[in-house]
Symmetry: C2
Subunit: 221 residues, 2 copies
């Protein structure tokens, strides 16, 4: 769930020779979003301006203003673009290993240099647009990951009424908590341990409770 | 673990009649930190200035600058002061209920109005001093909570080699994750569910693994 890590194709230079219809619009977006990520990684939210992004992208400032409006719009589009990739949840053949692989991806994204993902998280406390886009991305990623749980159910590892979302959050939350809020150095054992703990609790029926009266509104529908 | 919620005594008015030695210094600190919390709750980090805090506290601006230096210093002292209270972890007689009570406190603090705790979390992404103070407070609170685990071990609920810190983080992380990062509406069932899940995993031996080669540096020593 390397949610908002940079995609390499967005870093392609302006001289890319796409000439198909829509190519220019897509190319400008890629240049601008690549510039946002680069600026964010180098300077963080405080150093991010429409001007610095336009200059770095080699795109006219007026274009950036017209299409993205403000810095919040740029950040939101970076997060939206991260959700448009072809990311797939791990599929190792076991629940515990799938969750461990997922946690390793999360830990790698949260400790990557330059710190683009953590800069986006920090920005989500400043910009309402970025916050909404981050919520959408999280919801999309967790929805995509539900297949990890349904495959485990099909393999007979879990009861059919397992609450996939609760299980996924239990498995991944410790990694986010330690790195984003507690800010302790990354523990190489944590991704696997948190995964095994959630899988153990799941096989003991922890997530197969009857649905609560007021489920968390995470369905996105 | 109502980590950084306001303490009522810090809101006492300037006319409090403490005249014992040290009373004036303590009173000024209480007035200033109360003003920081109030400003933070009303305006957030962006509205917080040395001037607005001094004016609200009824304390000379020069005093605030001399003693706290800058806004980061004010935030750090609010967080340090939160750690100086006489907070005690819940003691209900069962591991699961202790963890549930703890999670209810966390959820209440993270959803309180005015949103002082969430404003402090947001500020910790902006101010290095606030970030360090928040890390200290988290470490102190988790260290205090280890007694929940040691009591459960004494009662025979858990194996003696249970890793208290991992267990506490597994129990509490989903509440922080849902409210601080995923930003979904508070689920009234989550505090209890996350607590029961962690207790179930703990009684299944999830936190009794041999110590890892590289333990997370959470000891605070």
């Amino acid at each position: 769930m390397n949610a908002s890590a940079p995609r390499s194709e967005d870093a392609r230079p302006a001289q890319a020779t796409q000439r198909r219809p829509g190519g220019r619009t897509a190319r400008i977006r890629a240049q601008v979003l690549g510039a946002v990520r680069a600026e964010l990684g180098e300077r963080g939210y405080d150093g991010l301006t429409m001007e610095s992004v336009a200059a770095r992208a080699g795109v006219h400032r007026a274009t950036v203003y017209r299409r993205w409006g403000d810095v919040g719009g740029l950040l939101a589009d970076v997060l939206d673009a991260a959700g448009e990739d072809d990311w797939q949840p791990p599929d190792t053949g076991s629940l515990s290993d799938d969750l461990a692989a997922l946690n390793h991806e999360i830990q790698a994204a949260l400790t990557a240099q330059p710190p683009i993902v953590t800069a986006l998280i920090a920005a989500s406390f400043r910009s309402e647009k970025a916050s909404c886009a981050q919520q959408r991305l999280f919801q999309d990623r967790y929805a995509q990951c539900e297949i990890i749980v349904s495959r485990a159910i099909r393999r007979g590892e879990l009861l059919p009424d397992t609450d996939a979302r609760r299980l996924l959050i239990a498995a991944t939350a410790p990694v986010y908590h330690q790195l984003v809020l507690l800010r302790i150095p990354p523990d190489p054992h944590l991704p696997g341990h948190a995964a095994r703990t959630a899988a153990l609790a799941a096989s003991a029926g922890a997530f197969a409770e009857p649905p609560s009266a007021e489920p968390p509104s995470v369905g996105g529908t």
